[in-house]
């Protein structure tokens, strides 16, 4: 997927200025702070960030599944030329599962323990296509299972009789049962062993080609993004700070946080750079984030303006965006003393 396909028609999901807040215990936490993101049809977009950066909240927001005390307070969600925020809950419910589906982290608890696997699939199909007969739904389920390398007989097993890997593939088949356009995988491989994870990743790659489905892979595992994603979006403290193709970002990261992050990712291969980069400080808690650019307390290239004004997420070169004053100019950029008008 090179960048030339950035034309409007090719955008599957256009997220404009999304804001999600949590009102708990008298404290307002902005978990997603004015995020702008375009997901292209048929791509694998890796959304990466450390714990507490808001990536899972963003994932849920794309499904409009933010439960109180959380709330989507601003922004628009354009999926396939339809604005989701405007839809009544009844209509939004129809989109979930048929247009967008989601895979969760813990395969052990994502399936209803008292319901057989085939019941899961048939129910999902019947919800969206009530007219389909049970037998046809079962056939589709069997075809999907075959495609994902699980024996058909597993269909009438109960979830606890399946291994972690098989359950996660069941979740994928549930996602595909109504040929959804977008699958959001929220830390889908975190609780799997490394070999099972690798196999699932391979399968996701094949599915993407065969079903033309778009995949949003939300994870903290940067190496995984390098293996499967076309583009990568790096999130920090509720904001997207860098977007670009995997090759560009990994070879020439722009944002200091991305640079630090990529150097602190352990690599199993022995190469010249043996020392892991030790980033100072810890990811900030979102209940009282630092002002201006939220990375400034840990940033080696911090400038006075970084402490005061939040930079914009601007296009640096075609297909690459970065949210950092290093690449934007501002009249008072270097004056440390004067009170900069916000």
């Amino acid at each position: 997927m090179n960048n030339s396909h950035l034309s409007e028609a090719n955008i599957l999901y256009n997220i404009k200025d999304l804001v999600v807040e949590y009102h708990t215990r008298g404290v307002v936490v902005t978990a997603v702070d004015h995020v702008n993101l375009k997901i292209q049809r048929g791509e694998v977009l890796g959304l990466v960030g450390e714990s507490g950066c808001g990536k899972s909240t963003l994932g849920k927001a794309l499904m409009r599944m933010i439960e109180p005390p959380g709330d989507i307070v601003g922004g628009e969600l354009w999926l396939d030329q339809t604005e989701l925020m405007g839809l009544p809950e009844r209509e939004m419910r129809e989109w979930r599962g048929s247009k967008i589906s989601m895979i969760f982290q813990d395969p052990m608890t994502s399936l209803n323990p008292v319901q057989r696997i085939d019941e899961h699939i048939v129910e999902t199909i019947k919800v969206h296509e009530p007219e389909t007969k049970k037998s046809t739904a079962l056939e589709r389920a069997q075809a999907l299972f075959e495609r994902l390398g699980i024996q058909k007989r597993r269909l009438n097993d109960y979830p606890h009789q399946l291994s972690g890997g098989m359950r996660q593939r069941t979740m994928v088949s549930l996602g595909l049962s109504l040929n959804a356009d977008l699958i959001i995988a929220d830390e889908a491989t975190t609780s799997l062993d490394v070999i099972v994870e690798a196999k699932l990743v391979d399968q996701l790659e094949e599915i993407r080609k065969e079903f033309g489905v778009t995949i949003l892979l939300i994870t903290h595992n940067i190496a995984l993004i390098a293996q499967i994603a076309d583009r990568i979006a790096v999130m920090y403290a509720g904001r997207i700070i860098e977007i670009g193709s995997v090759h560009d970002v990994f070879l020439d990261p722009l944002h200091p946080y991305t640079q630090g992050l990529l150097q602190s990712v352990p690599n199993i291969k022995f190469d010249e750079r043996e020392e892991l980069y030790k980033m100072p400080g810890e990811p900030p808690s979102l209940s009282n984030p630092p002002p201006g650019c939220r990375f400034h307390p840990r940033c080696p290239k911090v400038m006075p303006i970084c402490l005061k004004i939040k930079p914009q997420l601007l296009e640096n070169t075609p297909g690459r965006q970065v949210h950092c004053w290093l690449y934007q100019n501002h009249p008072e950029k270097h004056q440390s003393t004067t009170e900069v008008a916000v």
Binding site: M63, M65, P68, R93, E94, W95, R96, G97, S98, S101, M102, F104, Q105, D106, T109, S110, L111, N112, P113, V114, Q115, E123, T124, V127, H128, Y158, H160, Q161, M171, L174
Partner: protein
């Protein structure tokens, strides 16, 4: 039936025997070891020494404790709980005559408890942290704090004395008692249906309303809280969120997926519910002069007849043990993780 389940049932049945044995022993010693001479406690009105002695001889109280115990155990196994002190009718006979009334009361009260409990419990869990949730939680606490007999008296006063809508005591109106050949199970409602005696049915049901509401509602207080707690645990599971992400209706998620999973822990608590029900029945029967085993126990307390007391306690314990056995076996069927 899978080996896992068969093994589970066998283990559970074998486990009931020691439990019952312990119960009988506990009750036996509780009634004998605590301070105070049982004979004196029974013959309280200035009984002379030799009256006490003859009484002890008659009831075998003068035997060494372990002999009494062994004799009693052999009796219990044969479901013979000895003889009522003052009336020389075997306790088992009395249980046979009075128990059906308690069963009928308990049955319908259980109906009230489970329907009210499950509906409001599930609804409160579904509408968590809203006014409905807090309303249901507080009212279920108040319901459970109501003393059963007081609620009974209040209902009697309002519906009986003041408004006169409902009969206030007894199982049937005067002269309605079915003849012996008509009584098959001793439960008037069921006998009435079996013999198609609709007049009897109507009268029996009318008499049941107030007592069952009293006992049923008070216990519904606990049942609602139990259902809500279990439902909350279930509704927070990932598979409910995953279901929502697949577009499944919220009502289906809560009342079909949620309730089916929450039913497993709730069913296991039915054993406990039955125990509370029987305890509650004692007070309800006394308030509504309902001729059941509970009221019999209370009357026998006045004339200090502790053999009946002991017999009824063990009989009740057997029922509770039996119910929790059935419930545990049911648990095996309900939860596929045990079945396979």
């Amino acid at each position: 039936m899978s080996p896992g389940l068969r093994r589970y049932i066998v283990v559970r049945i074998l486990l009931t025997i020691p439990m019952l044995l312990i119960l009988v022993t506990v009750v036996f010693f509780v009634l004998r070891v605590i301070p105070g001479d049982p004979a004196l406690a029974i013959m309280r009105e200035g009984a002379s020494e030799e009256q006490l002695a003859s009484f002890r001889a008659a009831t075998g109280l003068d035997q060494p404790l372990h002999i009494q115990y062994l004799r009693y155990i052999s009796g219990v196994i044969r479901l013979d709980f000895g003889e009522a002190m003052k009336r020389s009718i075997p306790v088992t006979e009395e249980i046979k005559t009075f128990f059906p009334a308690t069963v009928e009361l308990a049955m319908y009260s259980m109906l009230v408890t489970t329907t009210v409990g499950i509906f409001f419990g599930a609804y409160a869990a579904h509408r968590r942290k809203t006014a409905a949730d807090y309303g249901i939680r507080i009212s279920s606490i108040i319901l459970y704090s109501l003393p059963i007999f007081w609620l009974g008296l209040m209902l009697q006063m309002i519906f009986g004395a003041q408004l006169g809508w409902l009969p206030v005591s007894g199982r049937l109106s005067a002269g309605m008692t079915p003849s012996p050949e008509e009584t098959i199970t001793g439960l008037y409602t069921i006998d009435a249906v079996l013999t198609r005696n609709w007049v009897l049915l109507k009268d029996a049901l009318l008499h049941l309303i107030l007592p069952c509401l009293t006992l049923g509602l008070v216990l519904a207080g606990i049942f609602t809280r139990l259902t809500r707690a279990n439902m909350l645990d279930v509704l927070e599971q990932d598979y409910i969120t995953a279901g929502r992400a697949r577009g499944i209706w919220e009502r289906v998620l809560v009342y079909r997926h949620g309730l089916r999973n929450a039913a497993i822990p709730i069913v296991t608590l039915l054993g406990l519910q039955v125990a509370l029900l029987l305890a509650g029945a004692i007070l309800t029967e006394t308030t509504f002069s309902w001729p059941g085993l509970g009221r019999l126990v209370v009357q026998r307390i006045y004339d200090r007849d502790f053999t009946t007391l002991q017999g009824t306690i063990i009989f009740f314990a057997m029922i509770v043990a039996g119910v929790s056995l059935i419930v545990d076996v049911l648990y095996g069927f309900l939860d596929p993780r045990i079945r396979y």
